[in-house]
Symmetry: C2
């Protein structure tokens, strides 16, 4: 049997779950993992996330598909450090920002490259966090497809369809603005909420009272600072403007409470309720 060769660079939650999902969906792929953390490579083999691990750059760059499941700054560095790849190779990144990545890949590899962002994740990280349904039925955004080769676009569509993702397309500018509102700014809020409580005099007494609402809102404050530092750096302007929009809304709420405009506050909350008729 002539299996297609898939390299997954980065064997944490995203890369590990991708290995599991592909192996679960099909026997047509042979998966080679790489992680600069050797303990992660060992764990990835133990958990069956990949078929083998390899540090051989030559072998990786000859694969049919190379996935990059690493922080967004590292994606650019890693791809641009590839000397060349096989003519049929498709390189796909899974980063949370898209514009900087899409415009920073070197010209000689740009048609090989497909910029993707799966709207899936948890606050956990490392190979032990991987699970085979992470991507199932989730949205996948593909960006700037006019810059990718026809073959590469087809390969990307096939593999994401195989693991049951819902593919949407948009340019990387739109993606980054929308991702700021739906993901990056909410992460900033969650980190700020966690720090607000931790800065109080007796945080443990406060946390004793934590119910589902607080747990949900502070969950993503557990996310990796290394990963999020890169995202905030690459999407700085959109993140700042989305935080400013949020500030305006929260100030509206504060003013309504301060002025005891309870009807106004009720209307403001009722408007927010509408979110869930859309979502």
């Amino acid at each position: 049997m002539n299996q297609k060769r898939v390299a997954i660079i980065g064997l944490g939650l995203m890369g590990g779950s991708l290995g599991l999902a592909i192996k679960k969906a099909s026997n047509d792929y042979y998966i080679i993992g790489f992680d600069h953390n050797k303990t992660h490579q060992k764990e990835a083999l133990e958990y069956g996330l990949v078929d083998e691990c390899s540090d051989d750059n030559e072998r990786i760059t000859q694969c049919d598909i190379i996935f990059l499941a690493i922080p967004v700054d590292a994606i650019i560095q890693t791809v641009n450090a590839f000397g060349s790849v096989a003519p049929h190779t498709t390189i796909i990144d899974l980063g949370s920002t898209k514009h900087k990545i899409s415009t920073s890949i070197k010209a000689s590899l740009r048609t090989h490259f497909v910029a993707a962002h799966p709207m899936a994740g948890t606050e956990k990280c490392g190979p032990s966090a991987a699970f085979d349904t992470l991507y199932n039925d989730k949205v996948l955004v593909l960006c700037d497809l006019d810059k990718s080769g026809e073959h590469q676009v087809q390969v990307a569509r096939e593999i994401f369809t195989l693991i049951n993702m819902k593919i949407v397309e948009m340019d990387s500018h739109h993606h980054d603005r929308r991702a700021a509102y739906i993901s990056h700014m909410p992460h900033a809020l969650s980190y700020a909420l966690a720090n607000t409580v931790l800065n109080q005099e007796d945080p443990k007494s406060i946390l004793t009272l934590a119910g589902g609402g607080f747990r949900d809102m502070s969950r993503i404050a557990k996310s990796s600072p290394t990963m999020w530092e890169d995202i905030f750096r690459q999407n700085k302007e959109n993140v700042l403007s989305s935080i400013q929009c949020f500030n305006k809304e929260l100030h509206k709420c504060e003013a309504l409470i301060q002025e005891e405009d309870w009807d106004g506050l009720n209307s403001w909350m009722t408007k927010a309720n509408a979110l869930h008729q859309i979502l």
Copy 2:
């Protein structure tokens, strides 16, 4: 068999789930429900949340226990409208604020009254939202117990222990300050986040990208404005000061991103990660 009589006023998520939990845990209680919404009374009977519904004030005020599972302003109005209750009656409220309630119950009923706040709930409301494990293994706060009769405190402890709640005690001042940080302010954030996205030019395109993080953070923005208007009114000062603390943290984050102090941002996020070693 001599069953104890329990009245539940308010047959939504909280009251309905309480009826189910008590009936599941013991046959020693006969449960009489009341809701000013007659459709809710009908539904509560259909779903088996209570044994009967009654509009008879006399009958309700003679019960062994009267639970108030209604918005916090209505709790005060309803209890103070009771002419009198039986000598052995225990009145327990389930409101999210405690100081205003604890200090507003009329003197003739104050020893009958026990101020309680179960740290449990969902964003849903109405009898159809009720489920029998809502309170299971959750924290219950009892406040200002020195103002309640000895018999009433014992009755309250027994019934909340019966449905497997973890009881903690504190004075209502401390409760309201802590509840502002762990519950009330996070609700304000969630409503503000929902409105921020809804105010954008194309909210549906943004919401297409919603993953678990956004869904979790906006979930409680679906909560009832009527219920939350009352809570924000009763806990105004604590809510405002907790929002101000949050603003300082978020401004810190904004400044770090604006100034491109990535090390500082990384440290700030790492600090937030510590929350989950406590929680």
